[in-house]
């Protein structure tokens, strides 16, 4: 088989299924189950637990989507593209830029732009020294390019539309080819009308493994941080947003749609963070551990320069790789520490109702508006409680600002929030951590209060 035919037949395998160029939602890949999403949305709004499969997919082992070599990085909620060996020894990858209907969390989806039927695109895995040949097919209605963020390559392969190359027009396929002379965590993203194209999701991680493992780890996770503006009741992110991002994602998923990370007690864990948010840096905080930043997209930090942190600031346009030993079992939260970044579709245009005694106005207001209920007198957490009380109609395609169901009630978190599950014995479905007796905060009993002279 010559190279041309290989490319043609291989494209399907690399692209993850044959898909016709499309602009219409009707012909989008049938990966999205609307019925399931609706059911899930109902569950969420009622504050009920989701089916285990929806909230806790198994992220124990890396998933590759086509390719001649196994994936070594776990991209929670995502997959890796590992490349095929061509006759001339190059590693061949194929990215198809196209519109994708993407689910951020059960009950919330939108028409985004991604690669290979995914948002974001797959994590490209390669090895230092590889000659990579990356084909990019444009199935969008707009011209596009791909920039290989942080990689050293010939100027003409850098992917800046108009500067380093002509844009890839709709229907065209371009080939990028260069040799990988670094290792570390890099990114790729559209560099043509990127305000629009990145706002719609055109990005992915690009992991280059060193020829020789420098610091072998047991778990290697990759997480792309991103932000979107998707108003409740709409079905397409708004690229015009500049400050009102309301869907904050890890690998294009927001809690409770984020797959947890898992580790067995004592394992060495690496997490690679990339940030291609339009306007925000993200201080990602892990509970229960301190990690060290070991690499950026500029290279490896010398040992002496690595300081311990519990929160790593990932500036936009950067990657940060952290490592730690998961030496404490439990369900540990990991999230962006910007409080508005752990909310889903939060409204910013509402009056401040905290501390206002609005309850007495409910009955007269219900004369006019039978479904009315004052909200926010005691903060946002109530919302989940209100929803728990009974069914509330909400806009189509929207999810509560906070709320996944936890073992002790509603987790008042959304957005860039996920869980690291560390277990002494890891199973396929870890479920909730069972705390040893006496290790859970609980109501203080009167006897203890008296003993310790606590006046309440």
């Amino acid at each position: 088989m010559n190279r041309r035919t290989w490319i043609k037949t291989g494209a399907a395998a690399l692209g993850g299924g044959l898909m016709l160029p499309t602009r219409s939602a009707a012909a989008l890949p049938a990966t999205f189950d609307h019925e399931a999403a609706r059911t899930a949305q109902e569950h969420l709004w009622r504050g009920e637990a989701l089916p285990q499969s929806a909230s806790t997919p198994n992220t124990a082992s890396p998933a590759a989507e086509g390719g001649d070599r196994p994936a070594r990085v776990v991209t929670p909620n995502g997959v890796s593209l590992t490349g095929r060996r061509a006759d001339d020894g190059a590693w061949v990858y194929h990215l198809l830029a196209e519109e994708v209907e993407h689910e951020y969390a059960p009950g919330l989806s939108a028409f985004c732009w991604g690669y290979n039927g995914r948002v974001h695109g797959p994590t490209i895995e390669a090895v230092e020294g590889d000659r990579v040949r990356i084909y990019v097919t444009n199935r969008l209605g707009a011209p596009t390019t791909v920039h290989w963020h942080g990689l050293f390559l010939p100027s003409g392969m850098d992917g800046v539309g108009g500067l380093s190359q002509p844009p890839i027009l709709p229907g065209e396929t371009f080939a990028y080819e260069f040799t990988l002379r670094q290792h570390g965590t890099f990114m790729y993203h559209s560099h043509h009308d990127e305000m629009t194209q990145m706002a719609l999701g055109m990005m992915g991680l690009f992991v280059v493994h060193p020829r020789r493992a420098l610091r072998p780890v047991d778990r290697d996770y990759a997480i792309m941080l991103g932000e979107w503006y998707l108003r409740p009741g709409t079905r397409r992110p708004d690229p015009n947003a500049m400050g009102d991002f309301n869907v904050l994602t890890m690998n294009a998923r927001c809690f409770p749609g984020t797959a947890p990370l898992v580790a067995q007690t004592g394992e060495r864990v690496r997490i690679r963070f990339g940030n291609l948010s339009a306007m925000d840096h993200h201080p990602v905080h892990l509970h229960g551990f301190a990690w060290r930043v070991v690499e950026t997209d500029g290279g490896v930090l010398p040992e002496a320069g690595r300081w311990p942190e519990t929160t790593v600031l990932v500036p936009t346009g950067s990657t940060r790789t952290v490592e730690f030993v998961a030496d404490a079992p439990g369900d540990w939260a990991m999230h962006c520490h910007m409080t508005h970044h752990v909310m889903n579709q939060m409204g910013h245009g509402i009056p401040n109702t905290v501390g206002a005694d609005l309850g007495p106005l409910d009955p007269p207001t219900r004369h006019l508006l039978p479904d009315y209920m004052a909200m926010g007198e005691h903060g946002m957490g109530e919302m989940a409680e209100h929803i728990g009380m009974g069914h509330m109609d909400v806009p189509e395609n929207s999810i509560p600002m906070v709320g996944g169901r936890g073992p002790f009630g509603t987790i008042t978190m959304g957005g860039m929030f996920t869980i690291l599950k560390v277990r002494d014995r890891l199973t396929d479905a870890p479920g909730w951590y069972e705390n040893p007796p006496g290790t859970v905060a609980a109501l203080a009993d009167a006897e203890a209060l008296a003993r310790d002279s606590i006046a309440t």
Binding site: G233, G349, P351, T353, L369, P395
Partner: protein
């Protein structure tokens, strides 16, 4: 006198005829049957004439029964027809016309003269002279005069029927307005409640320290403004109801006690095309049925008859014939006597010219009236069609849209994307659409009443404007922060 009459009877057979004709009485309620029949036929309602100026028991009971329950528009019409005193006054015009008709058949009363002459020189019995004279020409022109009066009576009948129909269409319009005004009050009450809740919410947010005094004052000002609107609408409701009360002729407790329906009926969903077809013959129908034209035809007829009468009396204005009885020197002498005016100066040319001009005047008026009826019919048709289009569009499209918007705003509120103020604003805009719909419904029912009136033969007033301008939705800049 009786002797005299007997004596006169022998004098002339003409006198006999005259006397018989003269001793006619005036029947009451004549010609009302035709009015009754026409109204029943064309307006589907019953009219009564209380000759003894008091409601008869049956009618009183009927009015009481109608007022006992919610007063629908047709029932209001019936109450007015049974109870409106002005209408009773109008009926008396029939009596007057009837009396004129009888009068036309009467001869002028004979003139009896008596004289005595005493000699101043000697004592002799006086010479006596007796005469009786009556309007001889009146006898000849009597059929003509009767025809004139009969035509005038017919014209009056048409006028009275028209007056009844004027009340019918007036009651329909007033009833519609009163119900619409009542609904407007109800809707503005809801708007006021919404702005009150907005203001109270803002007050509580202010008390909690969350909003500025400026925001509080703005919200209050908005509320106080809507209270003014409600106040005006309440007064308007009272005035509209009183307009109806006057037409119903109600006094005492009944004037304020009657209940109106809560809602105007919706516009029937028959298609505009079929409605347009149904109205295609309105112009011809209005002309054929027009009571005003009917009355004018009779008036023209009467004028033409008067022209004949003018001819008949042109030369001999007062032809008096009679007899004279004299006793002169103890002998009675009897002889006929004729007073004949010599047409030296008045040859009746002026009367003829006037009668002639009257015919021409009425004819010109008749044509003008016919043209007017046609134009009003075309205008009424257009008015009804546009009112139906507008009301249907509001009823079927705009208002449902507003309801959906309120529902979606509630959902956005539930998702904490919008606040209470925005939600209450959506409700107010929904209510404003409902107010527009009520105004459009009122315009539709009034336009329809006008078309029905035309079909029944009454020429309704054409309003200068298409419909009462719907109150523009107040631009309320409610900042949701």
């Amino acid at each position: 006198m009786k002797r005299c009459v007997l004596f006169l009877l022998r004098v002339s057979p003409l006198l006999v005829a005259a006397v018989v004709a003269g001793c006619t009485s005036v029947p009451r309620g004549a010609g009302f049957g035709a009015v009754q029949r026409t109204v029943a036929e064309r307006a589907g309602a019953e009219v009564r004439w209380y000759q003894n100026a008091a409601l008869d028991g049956e009618a009183t009971a009927a009015v009481a029964a109608l007022l006992g329950d919610t007063l629908q528009v047709d029932e209001a019409v019936q109450v007015a027809l049974l109870n409106n005193r002005r209408l009773q006054a109008t009926y008396e015009r029939l009596s007057i016309a009837q009396a004129d008709l009888v009068q036309a058949g009467l001869l002028r009363n004979p003139v009896f003269g008596a004289g005595a002459l005493w000699s101043l020189a000697e004592a002799e019995p006086p010479d006596l002279a007796f005469s009786v004279a009556f309007d001889f020409l009146g006898l000849l022109t009597r059929p003509l005069r009767r025809a004139v009066a009969a035509a005038a009576f017919e014209a009056e009948q048409a006028h009275v029927t028209d007056a009844v129909l004027r009340i019918v269409v007036g009651v329909q319009a007033a009833h519609t307005e009163a119900v619409a005004a009542q609904q407007a009050v109800e809707l503005l009450t809801a708007v006021t409640q919404a702005t009150a809740l907005s203001a109270q919410t803002m007050r509580r947010l202010f008390d909690a320290g969350n909003v500025t005094r400026l925001e509080l004052l703005e919200e209050r000002a908005l509320h106080e403004q809507t209270r003014l609107d409600l106040d005006a609408a309440t007064a308007e409701g009272v005035l509209a109801r009183e307009r109806l009360t006057r037409l119903l002729g109600l006094t005492g407790p009944a004037a304020t006690a009657y209940r109106l329906p809560q809602r105007l009926p919706p516009v029937p969903r028959d298609s505009l095309a079929s409605q347009a077809r149904a109205l295609s013959d309105l112009e011809a129908e209005a002309v054929a049925q027009s009571l005003a034209l009917d009355a004018q035809r009779h008036a023209l007829d009467a004028a033409a008859q008067r022209l004949g009468l003018a001819d008949a009396t042109a030369l001999v204005g007062d032809l008096e014939a009679g007899a004279e009885l004299e006793r002169e020197e103890g002998r009675w002498e009897l002889g006929p006597e004729v007073h004949l005016p010599l047409p030296l100066f008045d040859q009746g040319q002026a009367r003829r010219a006037a009668a002639d001009a009257e015919v021409r005047r009425l004819r010109a008026d008749y044509y003008a009236q016919a043209a007017e009826v046609r134009s009003v019919a075309r205008a009424a048709r257009e008015r009804l069609l546009v009112a139906q289009r507008r009301a249907l569009h509001l009823q079927e499209v705009v208002l449902p849209l507003r309801l959906d918007i309120t529902e979606q705003t509630q959902r956005q509120y539930n998702a904490m994307q919008v606040g209470t103020f925005r939600l209450l604003l959506a409700k107010q805009q929904e209510i404003d659409a409902a107010r527009q719909t009520v105004a459009a419904l009122a315009a539709y029912w009034q336009a329809r009443a006008a078309v029905d009136a035309l079909r029944a033969g009454h020429l309704p007033d054409v309003p200068a404007a298409l419909s009462p301008a719907s109150t523009a939705v107040r631009a309320m800049a409610v900042d949701d922060h």
